[in-house]
Symmetry: C2
Subunit: 484 residues, 2 copies
């Protein structure tokens, strides 16, 4: 099936009708129109409003049928009972797709509302593809489409697709991505999925060359069997990271009143994750953390990690955290230990694995030698090193103020050097440290350092737990993908 | 045993000898001396250095024996082989206690070093109590004692004691506390625990009226059986929160090279946590989060939670997260649902539990009515509400700039009002939102709002997962404490 061709008018519409726009600028219709204008939609926009006249400088039309030129996509936000009639207009006009933002369908549990949603499904079969209802729509930077609240979203395209039943998560994930330096090919909030569902959208992403990694938030699949088949086929060549929500009894109930989904069936999902290379995650944070790891870590990322930290307690915590997510921490042999003893003082340090450098930070030269020593160990695939830079950024430790920048800069450049020399991936833990208001400048500095790392392809995380989990997710994926 | 009297000279020394101070200001001895002066130690300080002369404006003495006046405590940072001789000097001088910062003892695995540590234990039995070796010492704001790197620690005392084998965690925890608005009675980094150990120190905290909550980081207990007995006695009247590290195989190995502890024995720890009211946690973050919850949540905090959030996906995530930590989310009856329907629009919201308010934030008036509706439900003990204020702080949502402050201020004051009216505890989730550098001002605003909440006794957390876990820890504790 040529999903690319079929869904092109939806993701890259040349002309868009916005149905349900009123002069009240606080209503969703006007907010969406404003968001489109702010974001810079690249095609033509036709607001539809029975009252006629101009809105935000654009001529309105009484109905979709009255628009004088061809229309690819309709964004619909009229009340639920009116949606079928608008879709009929769209069919008559030859519109190819619709994103139905309106909620108040099957998710209410109300019989009449559920019947209207069934009507939408039947209308779709007659020649229009529907995203929604009960959704925030599509964000596609390349065409200038954006979500309902998304006027100030980043304009750059990137390699990540996010397919989500929750509009709130769509918006939050787009913001989370900024702090991790990645951009999207498409974000699709598809809500109740009355027509286009998780399977259709995944099939599209399989064919979409712009998309290298697929992230998903699913409450209840509409075509479970087909979805599993598609995941099995796609996952070995493009990472598919799935946050399946509602797997607990309480979550399952919440899922029903959110997108009228039937969740549960933990066994089926367990099987999916066991039998395919799909990567399961349990929160938006882990989803974003894992995408970040996939973007920067190579296929050689393995589960045998070398851990470097400053402070014995931190090393113990690191070992526990790695072990809990299934990473191995192989002990170093005598040669590697000897190499590390030549760099570190004997007291207050450890040269086993984890390596304890004894203080929060050592200078760049020593750090390079420590990382190099660890990277040179045959038993190590991947390195996780904690750099508690907040101590220096907050002025609590390290060189005098005039030497701080140089000290930190040397450290920041070290991991990429060692990675390139030894060909082993390095992940950095960059703790926030104190979160008091007085540390806000230190936090700014920390985020800037994180961005510098990113520019060198080094992913970093605020906690060891999150770094270990992201590495474990990537390592497990590549091990499975190699067998598939 | 009168631990208060016995350990008074250690926590509240009137005179302190600092042994191992040189003119090299980068060495630990000088750094510690400087930290003491910066922090404002309230007693007399006698630096000990064989070379004599003055250091940092203080007269030095060739040995402890040469100090002309009585000394309560000695802080020792000479090389390991010299420590026994210094302790002999202390004994001869009648010094009551010593904190031995020096590392390079049993944790190295070296036989000779282990033998020296045994010597320390034997010297202690002759009349001096030792903290350490391989530690960062004691932070006691009331007496002006501070940790090795702790010159800029907060000067206020508070109700929390932290007893830790890791000096690194001692320092980090003291900083974590600032962002959560709590202060310490004492923080004790006791390292290898050659003399005073987890049991002795817990016994002291049991008797110490200044201490209301005891947090602990333990790698390997020195007197396991006695410790369990003390925990069983103390936990029902003072919360004892224990992060037991090294319970995984990899963590257990790391523990040995850190503080020469034998970890493992998961079964024993499982039993401890099942049979006593002690609260188990698995990271420094959870330890600090749980202390925060104990400081503000009453004994009536129960596991039946009412959850309020904006966005259906967020409600589902909340339900899953609560369920995973053992919290119940009872469904509301028709009356409560009716009450909520009168406030919220029918579409895009949910009045079951979790309550989905449909948008990230509603105004203070509506928020107060929603919280009140939930608090009025008999089936609810505790409320967790997400307030995604970063949307407004980052200027992405909500009222125009000139109305933002008033809008947020109204919201900030609401939870305490509802709590006081209904007598039910309320916990707020205050997400960070985007972590890009451009959001740093929004993050500053978020931290300020968190501090405002704290001033009203409302604990807040950046994620639902962390809030749910902290509430579950407190609820479990009070249920167990009531039975003990």
């Amino acid at each position: 099936m040529d999903r690319l061709g079929e869904l092109r008018p939806i993701f890259y519409p040349r002309a868009l009708a916005v149905v349900g726009v009123s002069r009240d600028q606080r209503k969703f219709g006007s907010l969406f129109l404003q968001a489109l204008l702010d974001f810079g939609f690249k095609g033509k926009i036709y607001p539809v409003n029975p009252a006629g006249g101009e809105i935000l400088g654009l001529t309105t039309y009484p109905s979709v049928r009255d628009i004088p030129e061809p229309v690819d996509l309709a964004a619909i936000m009229v009340p639920a009972p009116v949606v079928p009639a608008v879709l009929e207009d769209c069919l008559a006009k030859g519109v190819k797709g619709a994103e139905v933002f309106t909620s108040g369908f099957a998710e209410t549990g109300d019989e009449r509302a559920t019947a209207i949603e069934r009507e939408l499904t039947l209308i779709a079969r007659r020649g229009i593809r529907i995203i929604g209802p009960n959704c925030f729509g599509i964000y596609c930077p390349a065409s200038g489409l954006t979500l309902l609240p998304g006027g100030n979203f980043p304009g750059e395209s990137g390699p990540v697709a996010f397919i989500t039943q929750s509009g709130g998560h769509a918006v939050e994930f787009a913001w989370e991505a900024r702090g991790r330096g990645f951009s999207f090919s498409k974000v699709i909030s598809y809500g109740n999925g009355c027509d286009l569902n998780e399977a259709d959208l995944l099939e599209y992403m399989a064919q979409d060359d712009e998309t290298k990694i697929v992230a998903m938030y699913i409450e209840g699949p509409r075509e479970g069997r087909r979805f599993v088949r598609l995941v099995r086929e796609l996952a070995p060549r493009k990472p598919v990271i799935i946050w399946k929500a509602g797997l607990t009894p309480a979550g399952g109930k919440a899922v029903h009143s959110h997108t009228a989904s039937l969740a549960g069936e933990e066994a089926i999902w367990d099987a999916l994750f066991k039998q395919t290379a799909a990567v399961p995650v349990r929160s938006l944070e882990e989803l974003a953390d894992t995408v970040l790891a996939f973007l920067h870590l190579p296929a050689s990322t393995g589960r045998r990690v070398g851990v470097v930290g400053g402070g014995g307690g931190i090393s113990v915590a690191a070992a526990d955290a790695c072990d809990r997510v299934g990473l191995d921490i192989p002990p170093f042999d005598g040669d590697i230990q000897q190499k590390l003893w030549e760099i570190l003082p004997a007291a207050g340090t450890s040269v086993r694995n984890p390596v304890d450098i004894g203080v929060p930070l050592v200078g760049a030269q020593a750090f390079e030698r420590v990382l190099g020593g660890v990277a040179s160990a045959d038993c190590i695939d991947t390195i996780i090193a904690t750099q508690a830079m907040f101590h220096v950024l907050g002025g609590k430790f390290g060189p005098p103020p005039d030497k701080r920048e140089g000290f930190l800069q040397g450290l920041v450049e070290t991991p990429a050097k060692v990675r390139d020399r030894f060909g082993k991936p390095i992940v950095i833990v960059l703790p926030v440290g104190g979160e008091d208001v007085g540390m806000i400048e230190a936090e700014k500095g920390r985020r800037q350092i994180r961005d510098q790392y990113l520019s060198m392809g080094i992913p970093s995380y605020p906690t060891l737990e999150r770094a270990a989990r992201a590495v474990a997710n990537v390592a497990t994926y590549y091990a499975k993908a190699a067998q598939a």
